[in-house]
């Protein structure tokens, strides 16, 4: 991984730098921000997260399994009470609901990890500890021949520090 990192104190400078980098056809841009900011979401235009699909699919799988396990247990080991159904959906809704939340919730978290590339063993390339304190970082992945151009754009927009990393 090779690229250029620019550190900004101000959010508007970072946003303008990203817009300008886009105009210069730099496509692979990562922003580091201490908190989620809608300004970056708008300028990067990444589209909605796919986490929701995992939540839905595994939630549905969970509710199905929850009902199924309760019904299956009742059929496998029937407790016969006169006039009562062996398996009945009303109390089994508790199993359906709880397993839906359990599987759906865990799938949401694992999907977040998978999609965000976590866990990550190293944070060294393209990261600076100041980005968790209040500064904003713009990492542009680029080849060596275009690094100067990217650095120039970042500096022009007020980057306090620009460095090339690999």
């Amino acid at each position: 991984m090779q690229g250029v990192l620019g550190g900004f104190h101000e959010i508007d400078s970072a946003v303008h730098a990203i817009e300008d980098l886009g105009k210069h056809r730099f496509k692979d841009i990562t922003v580091y921000t201490p908190t989620p900011r809608h300004e970056f979401e708008e300028v990067l235009a990444r589209g909605p997260s796919a986490v929701r699909r995992f939540t839905l699919i595994f939630g549905l799988a969970g509710v199905t399994f929850g009902y199924w396990i309760a019904v299956w247990i009742s059929q496998y080991w029937p407790i016969v009470v006169g006039g009562k159904a062996i398996a009945t959906w009303v109390p089994y809704t508790i199993f359906g609901f709880e397993v839906m939340v359990l599987i759906g919730g865990l799938a949401t978290v694992y999907a977040m990890f998978g999609l965000a590339g976590m866990p990550r063993l190293t944070t060294t390339v393209g990261y600076d500890p100041r980005f968790s304190a209040g500064d904003f970082g713009v990492w542009v992945e680029t080849t060596a021949d275009r690094a100067d151009e990217a650095m120039e754009v970042l500096r022009r927009h007020g980057a306090r520090e620009v460095r090339s990393e690999r």
């Binding site: 997260s49 247990i73 949401t108």
Partner: protein, 452 residues
Amino acid sequence: MGTLRPSLGWFALLGVAILCMLIGASAWMYQIYEGLGAAGYHPPVMWGVYIVTFVFWVGIGHAGTLISAILYLFRAGFRTSIYRAAEAMTVFAVMTAGLFPILHLGRPWKFFYLIPYPNWRLIWPNPKSPLVWDVFAILTYLTISSTFLYIGLIPDIAALRDKEKNPIRRQIYANMSLGWRNSDREWRHFTRAYLFLAALSTPLVLSVHSVVSFDFAMALTPGWHATIFPPYFVAGAIYSGLGMVFTIIIPIRKYFKLQHYVTLNDLDAAAKMCLFTSLVVGLAYLTEFQVAWMSGNTFEQDYFWNRVFGQWAWAAWIMLICNCVLPLSLFSQQLRRNTTWLWILSLFINLGMWFERFVIVVPSLSHEFEPWQWSTYAPTWVDYSILLGSFGWFFMWFLLFIKQLPVLAIAEIKEVIPPRMKHPFLSESQVLEQHGMAGPIINDPPHSGGLN
């Protein structure tokens, strides 16, 4: 940022908590050796302090998820400063609650029989039993609330990692933050996942204490067999949880000097919620009496008379005074903003809510249908020691948590603060013109509010 050196007071409190926990553990060992007779069980009262304390701790665990998940969905600003402590409280309270059904078993080492898994005995739990519903509800709640706590902590642990000088602690924080780098990609998936977890946790909060209430409501015992139990239990759980939030957040606020983060306005808003849930709980008590009175069921009527004016009047009046009378003081804004009074009141709320569960469990069992069945109940030193031990266990985890991990949600507090801006009132094209660059790059209209 970073962690402070632990003070002598912290060590003293931790020592007291561990001592209490050891007293409880010793009492449990004695009970395992002697059998359940060591506890104060005496037919027909075969549910006592353990089940009372189980329901009490599950209730405490509810405010955390309420504050963190439900108020997050409603975008209630005052939650930001208190939700981390409340979430941690939830996890430790549910961990504590989960011990009590096991303590209550005659052979606690066989508790796993309640979990449905393929086994050589070819026996499966009864899915129509509320006790099995409890297992699913509590385990799901524990898993989801601890996941919710951990996910929210990841950006804050990463911030600690970036500030930490000690290499060992830094490595521990690096591992715990899973390599979090604050990238836009991480935030994009994080915010969605957090929102969905909040959305899943919200009905979970309501379901868990409803399921706990079914332990009682499914039985025909007088005082228990009532459809009001689920909402009554949920309101009581939120009320008791808020009481415990005050008990722990007010000393933390004072000793860690967090008055600028946990403001009086935040405490005022939480106190209003506490007052509201107190009124709901009071209404539920009155409804129970009214339903018994209008039911024409002499067993129900006799039970409620016995509860308030008979054998258990002392417990019922502690409950009523602590849960319905004293919280009325919160109608006064002056008292809502008086942290000393809030803290004292929170102790009464904790006491009152423990007695609420006592009043539900014990008087019903000791005063069922037939007069020859009527009995009394007296907890033994084993019950009291294990009750004390549960507080020791809870506070031990909580003290360790507040020492090692951020008790305030750093990232969310930062989110509230406006970011630094170079040109807060200019659009991008205006900025570029100021910098002497040739013409606007994009045709964005000028706007007065800046980018924020």
